[in-house]
């Protein structure tokens, strides 16, 4: 079956994307459409003493200037964080109020205080500049450690000391005791740099209020339109769910930043009702830097204890996580259940303890970004392992192998139960593909050219397929994390799959169709995937955490099971055979071992004509299913980076990168490789290039591509990609997920390679030429002594 599971099928959706025919939110043109522009604070922290909109209102073509008092006055609710975390003393997290338009106070540069609705985008932006806001500046704090110092400016009244929560996982006393008794202790301080997600398509929204039906329609750049509708209805009081349709059409990348419901969508919906016009807003790139949720921003100190044999006896971690000025939708879960629960890594460790303090600062809200917590965990563990290997004088691969988990299921001390894996096998494949035996020769050859060549490993594990609803509910999640699907077989045999997953670059239109083709023997061109519209798909939890394959496809498989059962009933009746003898093969529904068969479309037609169905069987051929996963899935792998450093300039090149991943079942190897390529590129970006910078007054310094460096083609090598598959035992297709692995596994591999090359471990991300050169100056050893 050339188009089924495992086939390298070209992406169906690429025809429209590469010919410029994709239909994105900003391509939507409504009749009677007006444009929104936001008036944003230039101050990181200030009281709003007054807003004078008279000059803007007087401009020809300005329809309205609306502010936060009017918004809250109309009953629009505050923006919430949907995952409740409880501090270790039992107190609930301190969530400060976040109004879509600020009323009394602004808390970060870019915080919106008013919106201008005008006849054109240019006019709206011009008028927004004419709105005069009287700010009374307050002292600001941008850095998480500074925000915790006594006397730091307080950002929310109900978060004393800017502390949102002080949370822990694992056994503190047992871990301390294990480390105290260790033969060797490795200590490490790492920062995980703050990143801007930078999807290719900026955020956008088009909101239309239909007064005759009291109904709203919102086109928006969302990874989860149903969640958006749920939150907009239940918490922001925009409209009840049956009066609100949310459509996320083609979406050009998200990386997490389009999970959340932002002030702009809420404001556009409300402004449409206020003005009786469709209201469109599209972010420009500079606005995106200033308002899209950022990622990461951790400061961590950690200790790992080893026995005399190199076995890990305890791992103790203390992390401070910068949340920015407000708690974004899933912010609270990222440095807790998506981070600390992965701190056992691929290793058999009896004692792990992690303490996390989440803090407010006067910066853009921080939330999940490709990997979400797992990159922070992996970076810490894998730098720790490499550092320990150097200190212990052991081969970094051998130290890892000595500690790898060997049998499954394996329960870690941080509440995860790994279901399957082959960590030695991953490392074997990576080492072979990286031609590790030849590394000394490569290093010598580089030295002859005056370059320092280094090698670094990273053995990552992550948790995907989020998540069993009851489990996450018990941990504070405000939603269940199942997925839904509907399979509609048409009378002519073509198939529509309605899914709650959302594709914003992942290629679902192809991979999902491949799974259907495998099952029913129809060509993938006869299968269409419908997603992203709350009026078409009943419900869905959307796409993030690499969950579309493991959770979304599992729901489709469940619905296909039901369709198959009905197909067999119809065929058995028509062909006068037993249901148990019916098989679906090669586009036909057959009686096994005979030449009796119906074509696939003949079964569809029979179902819809209803002329000759078994007694009591309903006409039609359409089934739905909800799938709730029973566990997370655990993709894992081994990455090996090789770099060359120019010691005179610090300029560093990643010259070789090998990825050996275990993603479980692979539906389309080409698409999976694409996901690894993109993820590793973002990982290299984090390791060497990307950094959101605030000055100490909370001014965003990196507000454009002049100052924020994204990886370009020349910054990344040709990758070597291997797979070492163990099938996930907990979902019907055996899928683990592949969307985030590259971004999780790559940063420590790169940094370990650079620190190997330069001979000092004192290096933080991003390893810019300046950072690498500065680190080199501290270890200048007299060459003559060698």
């Amino acid at each position: 079956m050339s188009e089924g599971i495992g086939a390298r099928v070209a992406r169906k959706e690429d025809k429209r994307f590469i010919t410029g025919k994709g239909k994105y939110t900003d391509d939507i043109r409504m009749e009677n459409q007006a444009y929104a522009a936001f008036v944003r604070s230039p101050h990181a922290h200030a009281k709003v003493a007054g807003i004078d909109a008279s000059a803007a209102e007087a401009m020809d073509g300005v329809i309205a200037v609306l502010n936060g008092h009017e918004l809250t006055g109309d009953g629009i609710g505050n923006i919430i964080c949907g995952w409740a975390i409880t501090s270790k003393d039992g107190s609930p997290m301190n969530m400060g109020a976040w109004s879509a338009l600020a009323t009394e106070k602004v808390r970060y540069v870019g915080d919106a205080v008013a919106v201008v609705i005008a006849e054109s985008q240019a006019l709206a932006r011009l008028a927004a500049e004419a709105v005069e806001v009287d700010y009374k500046e307050l002292p600001a704090v941008a850095f998480a450690d500074k925000a915790l110092e006594s006397g730091a400016p307080e950002i929310h009244d109900n978060a004393p000391g800017n502390l949102i929560y002080d949370w822990e996982i694992g056994e503190a006393a047992a871990t301390d005791a294990a480390i105290a008794g260790a033969a060797h202790v490795t200590e490490l301080e790492v920062t995980n740099n703050r990143l801007s997600p930078n999807p290719m398509e900026p955020r956008s929204a088009v909101a239309t209020f239909d007064a005759s039906e009291d109904h709203y329609t919102l086109y928006t750049t969302s990874q989860n339109p149903h969640v958006a509708r749920l939150v907009l209805s239940a918490f922001y009081n925009v409209a009840p769910e049956h009066k609100l349709r949310v459509i996320a059409p083609d979406v050009g990348g998200g990386f997490g930043s389009k999970i959340y419901i932002y002030p702009e969508e809420i404001t556009c919906l409300w402004a449409s009702m206020k003005t009786g016009r469709s209201v469109k807003w599209t972010s420009d790139r500079s606005e995106a830097f200033m308002t899209d949720a950022h990622g990461r921003d951790h400061i961590t100190t950690a200790k790992m204890g080893f026995d005399a044999d190199g076995k890990i006896v305890g791992f103790k971690v203390d992390t401070v996580a910068n949340f920015g000025a407000y708690m974004s939708l899933f912010s609270s879960a990222v440095p807790t259940y998506l981070y600390a629960t992965l701190l056992s890594g691929q290793y058999n460790i009896s004692n792990v303890h992690c303490n996390v303090r989440a803090v407010y600062t006067n910066t853009v809200p921080v939330d999940a970004y490709r990997g979400a917590g797992r990159p922070e965990a992996c970076y810490l563990i894998e730098r720790m392992m490499e550092t320990a290997a150097r200190e212990l004088g052991m081969d970094p691969g051998d130290l890892r192998r000595k500690n790898f988990i060997q049998s499954f299921p394996h329960e870690t001390p941080v509440i995860m139960t790994y279901d399957a894996g082959d960590f030695d096998g991953n490392l074997d494949k990576a080492l072979a593909a990286a031609k590790i035996a030849d590394f000394p020769a490569r290093k010598a050859e580089a030295a002859a050219r005056g370059k320092l060549r280094g090698i670094g490993y990273s053995c990552y594990i992550e948790a995907c397929g989020i998540a069993p609803s009851a489990a996450v509910g018990s941990l504070g999640a405000g939603v269940g994390l199942w997925e839904s699907a509907e399979v509609r077989v048409n009378p002519v045999g073509t198939i529509e799959i309605l899914t709650g997953s959302h594709s914003h670059g992942q290629g679902h239109e192809t991979t999902f169709a491949q799974v259907v083709a495998e099952r029913f023997g129809v060509p993938i061109d006869n299968v269409s995937i419908v997603h992203g519209d709350t009026d078409k798909v009943q419900f869905g939890m959307g796409t993030y955490g690499s969950r579309s394959g493991a959770v979304g496809l599992s729901a489709i498989v469940k619905a296909m099971d039901k369709v198959e059962a009905k197909v067999k009933k119809i065929a058995a009746h028509t062909l006068e055979a037993s249901e148990d003898d019916i098989v679906i093969e090669g586009g036909e529904v057959k009686v096994a071992g005979t030449d009796k068969a119906m074509a696939w479309h003949e079964v569809g037609l029979a179902a819809y004509t209803g002329h000759n169905l078994p007694d009591g069987l309903e006409p039609g051929l359409k089934e739905g299913a909800f799938y709730d996963p029973v566990n997370f899935t655990f993709p894992a792998g081994a990455y090996i980076a090789e770099v060359e450093v120019d010691p005179d300039t610090g300029v560093t090149e990643v010259v070789q990168f090998t990825a050996a991943d275990d993603f479980g079942t692979i539906i389309n190897p080409m698409i999976v490789e694409g996901q690894v390529h993109g993820g590793v590129a973002q990982g290299i970006g984090q390791a060497m290039l990307e950094q959101v910078v605030y000055d100490e007054d909370g001014q965003l310094i990196t507000g454009s591509y002049m100052d924020y460096t994204m990886p370009r083609a020349a910054d990344v090598p040709f990758y070597t990609i291997e797979h070492n598959t163990t099938v996930c035992p907990n979902n019907p297709l055996g899928i683990k997920g592949c969307g985030e692995a590259g971004a999780i596994g790559a940063p420590p591999a790169v940094i370990n390679a650079i620190t190997d090359a330069i001979g000092t471990n004192d290096l933080q991300m991003p390893a810019t030429p300046q950072a690498v050169w500065s680190a080199l100056q501290t270890v200048k050893t007299p060459m003559a002594a060698e």
């Binding site: 540069v109 001014q699 454009s704 002049m706």
Partner: protein, 153 residues
């Protein structure tokens, strides 16, 4: 932004001091200055149009002079708003020292910028400030030369 500098001005200290306190001279010499009004002996308001990297804006600002120790030194404190382009605020300590018939003017500036100016122009602030300072002193010297042609010889 922190910046220090020193300029030799070919004029006696008294002349330099008076010129620095003459609103007409300042209006003429400050690059991009379209309006400058002396509100009192120690307070000025000004409008300056400047381009810093990709940000071009009209800054309306107020300036206050303190620590006046004529003709040797004073402190300038100012704050300017460029509307949506952001804001700048800061101060400078200025001292004048006699050196023969010339005057050595030295200054220490500390300034902060915010909004779009910080977001898009931060990297360019230092070099722009240096360029503007050097333009100002060129203009200032030219003005003094015109006013006292002999002094330029």
């Amino acid at each position: 932004m922190d910046m220090t500098g020193e300029h030799r001005i070919s004029a006696p200290r008294e002349v330099v001091w008076h010129a620095l306190n003459d609103d007409a001279v300042l209006r003429e010499c400050i690059p991009g200055c379209s309006e400058l009004e002396k509100k009192s002996d120690t307070e000025l308001s000004a409008i300056v149009i400047q381009k810093i990297g990709p940000v071009k804006a009209k800054f309306a600002g107020d300036v206050e002079l303190t620590n006046i120790n004529a003709p040797e030194s004073y402190t300038i404190r100012g704050e300017g708003s460029g509307g949506v382009a952001g804001f700048a605020k800061g101060g400078a300590d200025v001292t004048l020292e006699e050196d023969g018939g010339d005057t050595i003017l030295s200054y220490t500036v500390h300034a902060t910028v915010g909004g779009k100016l910080a977001r898009l122009g931060s990297r360019l602030i230092d070099s722009t400030a240096r360029k503007l300072a050097s333009q100002f002193f060129d203009n200032f010297q030219a003005h003094l030369n015109e006013a006292r042609p002999n002094a330029a010889e």
